[in-house]
Symmetry: D2
Subunit: 188 residues, 4 copies
């Protein structure tokens, strides 16, 4: 059990990164098993891809931003992970070549969530799982709406709010991280 | 009913300011009435003092930072409030001249919370109220500890976490404010 | 300044009631002034209507549930408020007779939020305000969507999460209240 | 990677149980590795012990309540975990026989947190970790205070608030779980 890399261990640049606690919960909700094929859409710095790659057989990291692609490569090298295939493209276009998928992680959907979910549906195995991290209420609503209207999925959703206690001299001051919605669906 | 000035209406400088929602809840929990004498300890920009002064008879704003004192004066003038007496000093020293107090607001205690509460106790009327805003767990703990050990007070405490939905194009993204503890005590 | 009645002072029955902190923030965000005409849709126990009625000229409490109507009457009597007109009906039907409205509070919309907002729009003065309390993501989304698509409104939205510290012997244990979204819009 | 058992898969009775998301974060913050010796103090239903036992070499589950001890046994059997030693006793008394500990999880301390931490300190390896779940501000404060005053530890602390979206017909309603503080310390 290796999940839980600290945020400051990743090479980051200016690319936004999923925070440690959200990564941990996302990977756990995804129930990734050895042997699994995973797609990480909107991979950013690759932090989720790397945590997933330590458990799964193969991770496809989809990322449209070339700067972020560089970071994924650097982080994969830093953490000695060699089962990530990086695809520098925008979902859903790049997804059609990948088959028999066990788990899809969606951290960024660029406004194409519905199209992405429709494309994924054809490539995801029965029993496969989709875990979406949403920072906007529109993405949350689109995700919930999709799964409510597709009876071949059951879903649950949580909101996670983390406050970190920052140590300032004798004091510990609550610093809030922005809340994240995590929507987890299983294909029946 | 006039409480609820927007944050951006106050003149602020670099002094930290209690956010609107916390101001509203603090003033409401203080149950300030017309005719009341109020002390605002650690007045900062004066935002709480000004909301209090629109209801109370007299507000004493205690603030050790001279830059903040200037801001309180400017804000009092901007909001046409003329019943605030600003005391440029550090509590509890400056409190002994004030008598028959109905309400004490404590936004900053500079590590002297216990001494401040002991000094206040002698000057607060029966039925009077103390409302403390705490951003550290030590201040929260000191406040709760004091009231637990003084049977002439009953208290309640809440934690308030506000997320503001920031409008970014077609999206609304949750931005977290740091959580605040509000401890409210009534002198029996 | 009188807002901030404690929850346990209201007569409640089995009808769900807006909690004190949410009531306080809702009334403050509504910026109710003396002289205002207010509509409270989905009035429930009447707790918001009563807080509003202490400031406004006239409050119309719209409530479809006859048991809740009884509670509003009892609470209005208990708090000596005589400027609430209770309408036992389901919005938006009952709204068309009310004109020149300054503030509309929406605590319950029974799935008709869009229709309610369209009906209100014709009766709300320029400069008037609508404040919606949402407990579901669908109501939140419908409210935000409406105001995003009607350029004669500007809006802001917050999520409020309150934890109450429950006193159990020497301990204070955090008990969470369910989070509420408060959407506030001003008609330009 | 197997952490993340759903709450309803555990046999529970009336014993309070750490919720899934908190279990996941606690186990991840504990950085349990194969070969580790783990102590779970205040084991309750055994849900944390079982997640830990799937990774560690040996887990000692300390629990004073005989009814809870039964549940731990039943759950260990249900999840086919055979490396948990259950000790029906109250910490810190029962801890002295256990040596070379890698990880200590503290879910319940019965008011003896300081004594427990002092006893653990003698049995915990350098590089070992302590992860405390606190539901009261006193336990949070005691934990932070202990680590602040013992320079052979570094610590971090977070507050976790989870809202679950409950599906009710066409709606998803936010239901709050009580917030938990997770304090993680590493022995230098």
């Amino acid at each position: 059990m290796m999940i839980g890399i600290n945020d400051d261990e990743f090479i980051r640049g200016d690319v936004p990164m999923t925070k440690q606690e959200i990564r941990i919960l996302t990977i756990a909700k995804a129930k990734i098993k050895p042997g699994d094929t995973v797609i990480d859409i909107g991979a950013g710095t690759g932090s989720l891809s790397i945590e997933a790659a330590k458990i799964a057989r193969q991770v496809f990291a989809i990322e449209k931003n070339p700067d972020a692609v560089d970071l994924i490569e650097q982080n994969a090298e830093k953490f000695s992970v060699n089962n990530i295939i990086i695809i520098n493209a925008e979902a859903p276009k790049s997804l059609s070549a990948i088959k028999n998928v066990d788990v899809v992680l969606i951290g960024g959907s660029g406004g194409f969530l519905k199209n992405i979910l429709e494309t994924i549906d054809k490539r995801l195995k029965a029993g496969g799982r989709i875990v979406i991290n949403a920072i906007t209420i529109q993405t949350l609503n689109d995700a919930v709406d999709y799964f409510k209207n597709h009876s071949n999925y059951k879903y649950d959703a949580i909101q996670v709010q983390i406050n970190r206690l920052q140590q300032i001299g004798h004091y510990d001051m609550s610093k809030a991280l922005n809340p994240i919605f995590i929507i987890s669906a299983e294909k029946l």
